[in-house]
């Protein structure tokens, strides 16, 4: 018995009708990406102000005093501590009491007046790289303005030359450049796990629970036709959800996609297939919808915790990293971040793409073996 398009069309049509009438599920799948993104999106601080900052001044002159006042008044920084060194500033950063430490070195004033380069040191908690680049910009503007204003009288001859200072940035605690922006690519992955693993396994187990599976299997259908019929609507739903997330991220939160969109969607499609296969596996193992739900949560939780979606992967203990390396989302998160935030090309993401390919192939082969056309 050959593959039949008439049967496939009927199967897909049936799934679409059932989905259309299942308003609650449908609403959930449309609202999920929107609500999730809003929650995470507004947690991203769009317009940072008054970020806690410590100042170490090794040079107490009219110029450095103005500089500190300037920092205080500009609004970006909020100077909460004035420390004298002795590694005190490191502790403050580590404890998260301040996000920045601005260090004004010895002889700063004298060097500026002499036109010799002198560097302000900005130590930053780099958890949020956008905040860091904002800080560099703010510090630069403020220092330049203060120096020009303060020195315009007697030392007016200096005005034409660019102010003789530079800013050295030292980032701490986040070598990966982990940011809340990083949540968005990962969030697409989490939503696709929801749709793939949970929303697919539920209707399948429902079909078993209600006995309609018995009717379907007693008809001349091929296992492959049933599978394709079941997953096709969810492929489109998954793609639609990804589009919604990207759209909101772009227009509400100004998070653009730097890389190639078709490469991104190719990878999204692969990840959707991966989760649909997992959803099918769950439905063959689960006896009822409650069990299917529990198993999906069992898949979802480690995906949230151990894949670098929420917490930096390198920061996890070795055993957790080992588990993480077996979870598809780990690779999808890296791929999506690479393409979206860094404009990565195929060759850049390949080291993460091939393990994901492998996982998808293994899961799909296993699923095809386990899935049967009978009730045993």
């Amino acid at each position: 018995m050959l593959f039949s398009f008439q049967r496939l069309k009927a199967l897909i049509n049936k799934e679409l009708i059932q989905l259309k009438r299942d308003r609650a599920t449908l609403a959930m799948m449309i609202m999920l990406p929107i609500v999730q993104l809003m929650l995470f999106g507004y947690a991203i601080n769009m317009d940072p102000k008054h970020l806690p900052t410590a100042v170490i001044s090794r040079n107490n002159t009219f110029l450095t005093r103005s500089l500190i006042t300037g920092l205080q008044n500009a609004g970006y920084f909020k100077i909460t501590q004035t420390v004298s060194g002795d590694k005190q500033e490191e502790r403050l950063l580590r404890q998260g009491r301040v996000l920045f430490v601005v260090m004004i070195p010895d002889n700063f004033t004298q060097n500026v007046i002499r036109g010799q380069k002198s560097a302000l040191l900005l130590q930053a908690d780099a958890t949020d790289p956008t905040a860091v680049s904002g800080a560099v910009g703010a510090l630069n503007t403020i220092a330049a303005k203060v120096i020009t204003t303060e020195l315009k009288g007697a030392l007016g001859f200096l005005k034409n030359a660019a102010p003789a200072f530079s800013i050295d940035v030292q980032k701490a605690y986040n070598p990966e450049g982990f940011t809340r922006y990083n949540i968005v690519p990962g969030l697409i992955g989490i939503i696709l796990i929801f749709t793939g693993a949970m929303m697919t396994s539920l209707p399948l187990t429902r079909e078993q629970e209600r006995g309609t599976m018995e009717n379907l299997l007693s008809m001349p259908v091929q296992p492959l036709e049933v599978m394709i019929g079941k997953i096709t609507p969810f492929i489109f739903i998954g793609l639609f959800q990804s589009l919604v997330v990207l759209f909101i991220a772009r227009f509400l939160f100004s998070i653009p996609v730097f890389g190639n969109l078709s490469l991104l969607f190719g990878c999204i499609l692969l990840f959707i297939l991966c989760n649909l296969a997992i959803g099918f596996l769950i439905s063959t193992a689960a006896k009822n919808q409650t069990q299917a739900l529990q198993m999906s949560v069992f898949v979802l939780l480690p995906s949230i915790m151990l894949t670098g979606f929420m917490f930096p992967f390198q920061g996890m203990p070795q055993w957790a990293q080992n588990i993480g390396r077996m979870i598809p989302l780990t690779y999808f998160v890296r791929i999506a971040r690479g393409i979206m935030l860094k404009g990565a090309e195929l060759q850049d993401i390949w080291p993460h793409l091939y393990p994901l390919d492998l996982i998808v192939i293994v899961i799909t082969l296993f699923m095809l073996r386990v899935y049967q056309n009978t009730l045993d």
């Binding site: 049967r7 009927a10 209600r210 309609t212 379907l216 001349p220 009978t374 009730l375």
Partner: protein, 230 residues
Amino acid sequence: MTELAIDVKRLTKKFGSRIVVNNIDIQVPKGKIYGFFGPNGSGKTTTIRMLCGLLTPDAGEGTCLGYDIMAQTQMIRKKVGYMTQKFSFWDDLTIQENVEFTANIFGMDHVSERTREALVKLGLQHRSDQSAGTLSGGWKQRLALAACILHQPEILLLDEPTAGVDPKARRELWDELGRLSEDGMTILVSTHYMDEAERCHELIYIAYGNLIVRGSTQQVIDQTHLKTLE
């Protein structure tokens, strides 16, 4: 020797270590109504599922319409109409959608015409947009039967079609089965109701997976005073 539509021997099925169907032979002659009797849990549903390839027997062999029940289940599924014990059409699809879906799955041509004909014959053409889940028990059974015979199968496997329907609907259903049989359809029907035995040509009675008695209806009644088995 009449031609057999179903001819299976030593059919056995275990669930875990429990033997649910034990060494059962079934021979159903073409064009006859074959009654399948037995109390709850005696293995009727399990047997029927094995006949149409939904369960794989642990032992036994045989053919259904000449196709091997182990190896050629896909061919069997095409030519058999199986009506499950529990209503198993899709509650959230309308009556029409259910019938259309079935017609498409069986690869029929002129699906919408055939669907309309079937609904008219059922007397459900005015309620074709009603969802199947909202039908009453008797109507559900009639819809299920209509969907089962839609693709003109050569054999009907009906699992307790009269359970839970009122006496009038029960009579009408048996009248319909009689008509189908006269047109040459082979029918295997399982039931609890002993009084339905007289409408069968042949019957088999099993209990807890084991054969109790079988033969033509007259033989069985003569031999065992079947009514006492109830």
